[in-house]
Each structure stands twice: as C-alpha cells, then as structure tokens.
C-alpha cells in the first residue's frame, strides 16, 4: 500500500519547525528501503494549515489516518519505523479524558466541524495544481462554462450565500447587479487584506488551497463578464502571496485560466497585488483606491461598486472565504448548499477561535452553532478552567459578548442585534484576568491608528474616545465619561463615511453595555477588577518607558 505523510506547513506549523520535520522524515524514510516491499512507497507531502496550530507541527499518515501532533525532527526515525506497524502513541492527541486519539475525525477539536471552505486544506499540496484537480478541482469551472451567466447567478442566489468578509451582503445580488451593467471592462476582485486582529482564515485558505479561490473568481468572472481580476493580499502574508502567484501561473500554463479558459475562448487574467499595510483597505472602496495606486481612502457608497468600482467600472469584490465557497455551490448545486445553516445565513463559517481557550485554531462549522458549543465543546473551555468573561467577535468592528449571551446562535444577524457582529470570524476568548475597559481602549487605539483620517467624525471621534478611555485606564476617569463616550459613538454610527467608522463604536458600546460595573470600578473606585491596568493595580511594573510610546498601553498579563 502506498502512503503519504501529510506534513502541515501553514505559517503556524512552519514557525514550530514543520519544514525541518518534513526534511527529517524524507531522510528517515530514505533509510528504510528494506521495508518498502512490505509497506509500499511513502511520500512526504507539505500541505496547508490544519487549523490546530497550537499543537503543531501536525502530521497525518494517510490512508491509515493517523494524526501526530507537536512532532519534532528527532521523531522522524520513530515515525518512519512505525509506518504500517503500531502507531506512535506518544505523539497522538489526548482528549479531555486523556485518551489517545488516532484519527483526526475523532479529535474533539475536529469532530464537530463541517468543512466546505477548508475542504482540501491539509489534504493537498497547495503548490500542486494536480493535487487540486485530483480532488475535483476546476470541475465546477468546467460546469460553469456550460452555463449561462444567468444560470450561474441563479445558482449562487439559490445557495443564499452572503459575503464572508463581515457585511454579509448577498453574493448573488451583488453579482447580478454587476452583470446587468453593460459597461466594460469589468473587474473581479478578491479581498485578501484580512486585517481583523485575531482572524486568519483567509490567510490559511490562500496558503493552503489557492486554486479554490481562483476557481471561485473565475466563475464570478464568467457570470459578470469580467476578463481581469486582482487578489489584494496583505503584504505580511508572504506564504499566501507565494502560493497564489504560483497557482495563477500554473493555472495559466495548464490552460485553465488566461487567454482561453479551458479552451472556451473566454479570457481571464488574474494578478496578485500586495497590500500596503492599512486596515482600512479591507473596506472595498479603499481597497480599490489602493489597487489604482492611490491613498487607501474610502469613498461614499451611494453609488455601488457593482456599477462604479475599480477605475469606475462595474466591479465585484468578494472576500477569500466567499470565493472559496463558490466551486462547491456550482459543483453541488445552490439548493444543497442552502441545506446547511440558518434561515438567513446559509452554509458554514470559518472561525479563528483564539485567546484564552484550551484548543485554539481554525474551526469551520455550520452557521447557527452557539457560542457555547464553539468555545466549550470545540475549544474545550477556558485555559486553566478559569472563569469565562467575554468573547470578542468581529474584530475592531465587533463587540464583546458576555456569558449570559453564550447560547446565541452565531450567524450574520443575531450578533448584530446585540451590538456585536460575526464579522469575518475572529473569536477571541477572554477570561477573568482580562480587563474589558482595556480591551475597548486597545481596539479604539487600533482604529485611531488605522482610520484613514479622511472624515471628521471617525478621526476626531476616535481621538477623543481614545483620550477618555486612556484616562479611565490610568485612573483619571470622571463621572460622565461613559455618557461622553456614548455621545461620540452615536455620531460615529450615524455620520462616518465608511464602515470602519460606522462600526468603530461597537467595542466601546458593547463593553459599556455588558461590563458597566467594570467601567465604574475604574472610574469611581480607581480599581481594575481584571488586574490589568498598570496604574490601578498595586504591583507596578518596572518603568522602562517603552510601553508609553504607544498611548499608554496597559499590560494585560497579570
């Protein structure tokens, strides 16, 4: 029996030394020629991110389906010797009852997951187009070539797919709008400028399965009549850039993309564009300004991008995860896709479950799963079994959700009703040693630096909010501060130019709503219940003065 050892080479596992593990395995396997007759060939394959980064380097022996965690190069000889024999128990994952787990599907982190977007990641070599086509890749594009644009869009509409970048705009409607404008050229853009702190599903997708994103974009291009497209990718995501660039080249060489998509005569040129390091460029109109070679400032969206987008031409811009869903929808049918999820939010969502939770990593589950299931079943609860305090969802545009709301289903609309948002899927778990005022100050500081500074409410509002919040964290809070914050927040929501400003109030408003006691402890008693704010805790840290260079950043560790 021929085998492959899948070595996870996502950014997390590489940081943990997975490349050295892969090399050591190749050397170790080369030394076991004698056994080949009995066990067959064993190939070492470098794959994308398995999502369980904390336990990396991760490897998986297939088809035996044995997963090993925290593997070191020194383990290579033992692993090579174990092929076709007894599994190495010491490298297996141990579940909550300390029972060793052999198969990935039995791992409590993976068991409840339902993978659509991450379907291939960890199974294929992202740098091999053959690996992608072997598991059904580009078959949906082939199918789309036989369909009319109308039929493609109807299928996407039937799926109920909504944009995964955060706003949740119906993808089918967006495509239909762009299709209807008769102005050319048209453009298709993939937003890979993942800027929410704590979210990394787009990076993992681009790194681990770049072709599925290209396929989704190509189907979109056929539907709206675009011949050119761009993938705007964060500059920091070097591996993602490398894999995407190679994938585009390989797909063009294979005749799948380029001057004649699969021999159809239809053309699609794709190019990767490096982002410049600006959170606001995750906003679609700012992103387009950036591609055009201008400062990444948003414009008002009274006229939509589907009509006047990149270079004022009809443009569809979707997020990485949105495009990754498209091949599944076209390949398997929109109605099948719509079987998963809730009434208003179909399909799955990938979450980055991070922070003070036992099992952290990327998790893909059907929409509508409760926060409690995510954090306590999949995530295994809080590190050290400390009390849960809050989960921050949706990054700087989202909010903090307290324990009493943990049974809320996670989808596009429910969290929004509670002032937070699902957003792009970042989910940061905090325990009792986190300070919610400092968390609000952290996000406000982030936004004050990342705002483009164009419109006055966002720029001046965030400046004053940061000043007030910093005062509260440093023991200079006054009665009336919360009302002053709420007034500015109301202005931001109403009057800001773009979504960054309109949602910038969420971290502050949700923490005031759910953790008012904590604010009051800071303001009235000059006390930080989380034991985080330096000026309010008894134990003063050494005064190196380093942290003061960033607007009086508190120290969140105890």
């Amino acid at each position: 029996m021929n085998r492959s050892i899948l070595v996870c080479c996502g950014t997390g596992c590489i940081a943990n030394g997975s490349l050295a593990v892969a090399d050591a395995l190749r050397v170790a396997l080369a030394g076991t020629d004698v056994a080949v007759e009995a066990t067959g060939e064993t190939e070492v394959k470098e794959t994308g991110c398995n999502g369980f980064c904390e336990n990396g380097p991760i490897l998986r022996v297939m088809p035996d389906d044995i997963s090993y965690y925290k593997v070191k190069p020194e383990d290579a000889a033992d692993i090579a010797a174990s092929i076709g024999a007894e599994p190495l128990e010491r490298l297996l994952y141990r579940d909550d009852n300390d029972k060793p787990v052999l198969r990935q599907a039995d791992n409590p982190f993976y068991a409840p997951q339902h993978k659509i977007v991450l379907r291939n990641i960890g199974q294929i070599d992202p740098q091999s187009i053959a690996d992608y086509t072997d598991c059904g890749g580009y078959r949906a594009l082939e199918r789309a070539l036989q369909m009319t644009p109308e039929a493609i869009i109807s299928e996407v509409e039937a799926s109920g797919l909504r944009g995964r970048g955060g706003a949740g705009y119906p993808t089918g409607s967006k495509w239909r709008a762009a299709m209807q404008y008769g102005e050319y050229p048209k453009y298709v853009i993939c937003n890979g400028d993942e800027g929410d702190p704590g979210a990394f599903m787009d990076r993992s997708t681009l790194e681990g399965d770049p072709h599925c994103v290209l396929e989704g974009m190509a189907i979109c291009a056929l539907a709206i009549g675009a011949q050119e497209g761009f993938l705007y990718i964060r500059d920091e995501y070097e591996l993602a850039l490398k894999h995407v660039t190679k994938a585009i080249r390989d797909a063009e060489e294979a005749g799948i993309l380029g001057d004649s998509i699969m021999g159809s005569g239809k053309k699609l040129r794709l190019a990767a564009v490096r982002g410049g390091g600006a959170f606001v460029c995750g906003e679609s109109t700012a992103l387009m300004a950036s591609i055009e070679g201008r400062v990444g400032e948003p414009r008002a969206k009274y006229v939509r991008s589907a009509q006047r987008g990149l270079w004022d031409k009809p443009t569809v811009l979707n997020n990485v995860e949105t495009f990754a869903n498209i091949p599944v929808i076209i390949g398997g049918g929109g109605e099948n896709f719509a079987l998963l999820g809730t009434d208003s939010s179909k399909g799955t969502k990938v979450f980055a479950l991070v922070g003070k939770v036992k099992r952290t990593g990327l998790v893909e589950v059907p929409m509508g799963v409760t926060l409690r299931r995510l954090i306590f079943d999949i995530g295994g609860g809080i590190v050290g079994d400390r009390p849960f305090k809050a989960v921050q969802t949706g990054g700087p545009s989202g909010g903090c959700i307290p324990e009493k709301l943990l049974d809320l289903p996670v989808d596009f609309d429910t969290l929004t009703d509670y002032g937070a948002m699902m957003g792009s899927g970042g989910m940061i778990v905090m325990d009792d040693r986190s300070c919610m005022v400092e968390v609000a100050r952290y996000y406000t500081n982030f936004l004050a630096e990342e705002s483009c500074g164009k419109c006055a409410p966002c720029r001046e509002g965030l400046r004053q909010m940061l000043s007030i919040l910093t005062g509260i964290c440093e023991g200079r809070g006054l009665p009336g501060d919360l009302e002053a914050l709420e007034e500015i927040c109301a202005l931001l929501i109403d009057s800001s130019l773009c979504a960054l400003g309109k949602t910038a109030a969420n971290p502050v408003l949700t923490t005031i709503e759910h953790f008012r006691d904590e604010y009051n402890a800071h303001i009235l008693e000059k006390r930080c219940p989380g034991g985080v704010c330096r000026e309010l805790t008894g134990s003063k840290k050494d005064g190196t003065g380093v942290t003061s260079s960033k607007a009086g950043k508190g120290d969140l560790r105890v």
Binding site: A15, V295, G355, F446
Partner: protein, 159 residues
C-alpha cells in the same frame, strides 16, 4: 548607511510599466531592496510616473508597510494583535527594550536591529509572536530574547 545608486533605482523602476497602479508595488520593492523608501527613489518615481511628489509622499506615509527612514539590518516585528496583546505582548516589548534598548519605531545605535509593532500576523495560536527577518518566533519568553538576538547578530544578514 549605504549609498543608493541611481542605476539601482532606475533598474527597479524599469521592471514596471508606467502606470499609477504600480506605485505601491514599486515602493514596496524599494523597501525590500534598500530597507526603506529613499527620497531619491520617490523623486525618480515621480518622474517615471509623472505624478507629483506630494501624491507619492501621501502614499508613502499612509501605508504602514513603508518606511521613509533607513532601518536596521534586522527587522524585528512584534505582533500587536489582540491575542498577542492579551497574552502579554507588551512584556515582549519590555524584554526587547532590556535586550536591545529600543522601543517601537526605533533602531539600535549600531544599525543592527529595528523594532516595529505590527498588526495581527494571524499566528494567534503561537502568541505572543515576533518575526525577525521573516522567521517566526512563537510563545516568546521575554527572558530568552537576549539569546535570540545574539544568535541573529552572529549569523549576519539573512537574505
């Protein structure tokens, strides 16, 4: 500080068509090649694209990936994502200050190291995270930073 020859800049400019859409890409290439976006580079780009210098300066100061001043031989990027933050990102800064005497945005006197505070690198499971010359260091113990920097110093420039 090394002298940047006009030919180097021209060679770089000529790899791109004269189109405004490559403005950011050219600046990023300069950043990679020279460690920063030199003034001579912006001047030359202004001529190449026939765009006013002020427009390019606006772009160069807007995007965080670009620096207008020379940086150290080794670039230390400390992640300031939420998870690194709540897992004691600032202790890493304190540790670096103790080891190298620099804060965010500063360079050591010998020009060896520059320190930058960057947005979430998406390696949250390894928090707190630091990246030096492209190599990730996860779950940093601030007290071990001395050894890391000594080793990097000994190895010289990693290209």
């Amino acid at each position: 500080m090394r002298i940047i020859a006009g030919e180097e800049i021209n060679a770089l400019l000529n790899t791109y068509p004269r189109n405004a859409m490559y403005t950011l890409a050219v600046m990023q290439d300069m950043q990679r090649q020279f460690g920063y976006v030199p003034r001579e580079g912006l001047d030359a780009l202004s001529g190449h694209l026939e765009r006013p210098l002020s427009e390019l300066y606006a772009i160069a100061t807007f995007y965080k990936a670009l620096s207008l001043t020379p940086r150290g031989k080794h670039i230390i990027k400390v992640c300031d994502g939420t998870v690194c933050h709540i897992r004691a990102g600032t202790n890493v800064l304190d540790g670096i200050y103790r080891a190298l005497g620099i804060g965010p945005g500063e360079m050591t006197d010998d020009g060896e190291f520059s320190l930058e505070l960057v947005n979430c690198l998406g390696a949250c499971a390894l928090a707190p995270v630091m990246v030096v010359d492209g190599t990730y260091y996860g779950k940093i113990a601030p007290e071990s930073l001395h050894e890391v920097f000594d080793a990097i110093r000994a190895e010289g420039v990693i290209d």
